[in-house]
Amino acid sequence: MITIEKRKKYSIKENLLIIIISIFLSLFISSLIFSLKGINPFFALYKIIFSSFGSLYGIKETVTKAIPLMLCGIGLSIAFKGKFWNIGAEGQLLTGAVLATWVGLFIGKNLPSIILIPLMFLIGFIGGGLIGLIPAFLKVRFNINEVIITLMLNYIIEQYVQYLVYGPWKGKTQYGFPYTDNLSQNALLPIIKGSRIHYPTLIIAILLSILIFFLIFRTKLGYEIRVIGENPLSAKYAGIDFMKVTLIMMFLSGGIAALAGVGEISGIHKHLTYPSQISSGYGYTAIIVAWLAQLNPLIVILTSLFFGGILVGGDVIQTSFGFPFATINIFNGLMLVFISISYFLIQYKITFKRIEK
C-alpha cells in the first residue's frame, strides 16, 4: 500500500536535491526529443547552454530576455504568496506595452525624456494594476475563479493589441506592416552599447526584487498576504480585510508585470506590434520563474536569468537544427510539471509498505 504523509522536517539539502532532480529530469526528457530527431542530445544541450551563457553575445541576449521575466516573476511572486493564481502576467505585460505606446506616441510625444520615460512607466504600471484589480474584485466579492478570469483577460488583451496594430494605430511610415509608428527618440530607453540591454528597466527590476522581498517578509501588507495565502480561516480570525489586501496585492502584481511591457516597447521594439512579437510568452514562462524561485523575489533574479538563457537557446536550436521554437516550450512545460511534483515531494513523504490483511 502507498501511504502519503506530511513531512515533519524539512532539510534544505533535500529541498535543493529535489529541485536539481526536477531540472535534470526535464533536461533528460527534452533530450529524448532531440534523439528522436536524430540529433545528439548532448550536442543540443551544449548548444543551448553555450549560446546563452557561453559567449559575451549570448550573455547579453540572456540578460535582455531575463528583464521581462524578472519583472513578471516578481509580480507573480506577490500574488502566488497570497495563493492568488494570477495566470494573467502576459496580458498585464501587454497592457503596459499598449499604454507605453499610447503615452510615447500620442500623449507625451513632445515631452523631454526625463519626464516622458518615467511617465510611460507610471502609466503602464497603473494600467497593469487596474487590469489586475478585475480578477481580484471578482474573486473576493463573487468567489469567481481567478485562473479563468486572468487567463481569459490575456486573450482579450492580445486581441485588443491585434486590433490596434492592424486598425486605428497602424503606422503610416511602416510600409503596411502591422506596426505603430516608431516612438520618437525621447521616448526610447538608453541601452548598453553593443547589446539590447535596456538597463534602466533592469535596474528597476533588481530594485523591485529587493523592495518586494521586503514587502513580503517585513511589512504589514506582506504579513497579511502571507496569512491569507497560508490559512484564510485564521486570516478571518485575525480580522484581515480580504478585499483590501487582495486588491492591493493584485494591483502591485499586475502593475509590475506591466513594467515589463513598457520596457519591451521603449527599450527593444520602439513600436507596438502584434502580441507574440512583443512577448514570446514571457508572462507564462514567468510562472515557472516564480515557482522555481520558491516565490522569493530575490531568487527570481537568478531564475529569470536561467530561463532567459533557455529562451536564447531556443532561438539557437531553431536556427542551427531547424527545430521549431516551441521545442523550448516543451522544456518549460516539463520544468513546471516536475517543479510542481517536487513541491509535493518536499511537503509530503511517500512510503510504500505492505499491510497484512
Binding site: K6, K8, K9, R218, T219, K220, L221, Y223, E224, R226, V227, E230, N231, L233, S234, K236, Y237, A238, G239, D241
Partner: protein, 511 residues
Amino acid sequence: MKNQGIETLEMKGIYKEFPGIVANNFIDFNIKKGEIISLLGENGAGKTTLMNILYGLYRMDKGEIYINNEKVNIKSPKDAINYGIGMVHQHFMLIDNHSVLENISLYLKETPIFFPEKVVEDKILKFFDKYGFNVNYKAKIYELSLGEQQRVEIIKILLGGASLIILDEPTSVLTPKEAKDLFGLLRNLIKEGKSIIFITHKLKEVFEISSKVVVLRKGKKVYEEDIKNTNENVLARYMVEREIKPLIEKKEIKNGEIILSVKDLFVKNDKGRNVVKGVNFLVKKYEIFGIAGVSGNGQKELIEAITGLRKWEKGEIVIFGKNYHKFNSKLFRKLNISHIPEERTKFGVVSNLPIYDNSVLRTYDNHPFYKGLLLRYNTIKDFSKKIVNDYNVMTPSINTKVKLLSGGNIQKFILGREISTKKDLIIAAHPTYGLDISATRYIRDLLIKMRDEGSAILLVSEDLDEILEVSDRFAIMYDGEFISITKPGELSIEEIGLLLGGMKNKEEKIS
C-alpha cells in the same frame, strides 16, 4: 449469507483506541429485528465511533461482530451495505449539485451504467407508493431543506436494501415538525421489520421513539434497559455520572463591574436557521462564566457573534459599556478581547508560518509591533520568546513552524499570545479539547489565575468536568437557549444531566 435481512446483530467486546484515548472500551451491543435502540451519551462517549465500526468506516482493534449468529468481517461501508446495514450520518453524504435521482442511483449497486434514470425512477416511485413519501426526486440536493435531504438519505439506504438503519443525531438539523415526521417514518419502518439504532443526546427523544436504551460514558457501556423500565432521572445520572472532584481552592470572588453583557441575542447558522434563540447573560470582572452543553446547540454561533466573526439577527451585545446592535468585525478587532478559538489549528494559528509570525496574528498592526509600514520583527521576536518562556511552550526555537508543535503546545502558545496583550475579556472555546492531562491542568490553572488578576472570562466547553471545576457561574445551553444559569455545586449531577438532555423542568420530566 448476504443480506437476507438482519434478525439479530451482536457486537462483542468492541475495543478501539485512538492516539491517547480509548474510544470504545470492550463494548457489547445487541439489536434484534423490530427494535429501536437509542444510543445515549455525552460528546466523546464513543457512540459515533462504535457505529462507524459497525458501518465499516473504522476498523476495531479487538472484538467480533455477529449477524444472525454468523461471524462477519466488515472491512468497509460496502461490506456493511451488503449485509444490510445503512447509516445516515450527521453530515449528509449527498452531492449538492446533483439531483435526488442521481444521488440515489450512485448509491445503488444494481444501477445500470447507461440510462440509469428509468430503472431508478421506477424504484423510487414504487417506494413512494409504499411509504406515502413525497420528495421531488428531480430537484437538486441544494434546493431541498435539511429535513428533505435527510429523507433522501433514508430513501437511499432503504432502496439499497438496508434492514438495520443507523441514524446519527438525526434531529439536530430538523425543525420540531420535521422531527415529528421523522419519528412517524421510523415507527412505520419498525412495523416493516427493520431495526434502528438512534444516536442522540436528547433525553426526550429517547422516550418518544425507542424500545430500548443503551448509555455510553467515556468509552464504556454503563447502562442498558428496556425503555418501560427506566426514566429520565436514571438515564441522566448514567449519562453524566462522575466523581465530583472537590472544587479547587479558588479565591473568593470579588464583585467586579460588568464587562460583557448579551441581551436577547438571535444568531443564524450557515444554513440560515436560527440556532441561538434569545440568549441573555453577563460576565463580570473577576469571574469565569461557563457555557456547558453538548456541542451543536448553538455555542459556536454564539461565540462567533460575540467575537465579531458572524452577523447576528437580533439583540444587543454590550462590551466594556458600549452597545453594539450590529456586527462589525473591524470594531471588534480593536477591542481588548482575547479569543481562544475552537479548532486551534484551523483558526488559531497559521501552521505553515514560524512561531514568531504567529505570535502577532491578532495584534500585528498594533503598537509596538508595527510602525510606519514595517513590522518590527525584533520586537515581535522578543515578544514570541517571552510567550514561549512564560507559558512553557516546548519548541526548538521561535523560528520553528507551528505545525511541528504538539496540540498542547500550540494551545499554550495561543493562550499565551492572546492573554499577554489583551486580557480584559477572555473568550475561550473548548480550550483543553484533545489535550493531555498536564496541558489541560496548565490551561485551566492559567484561566483561574487570569480571573484572579481581574479578567472577565467566558468559557465554552463540552467537558462538564471543566465547567464544574473552573467556572464561577455557568449556563447550560440546549437547542439555542440557556435553559439554566447556575453555580457549580448548586445542582446535583443528575439535574445537570437532565438539563444537558433538554429536560427543562419538572412537568416535562413527568410527561
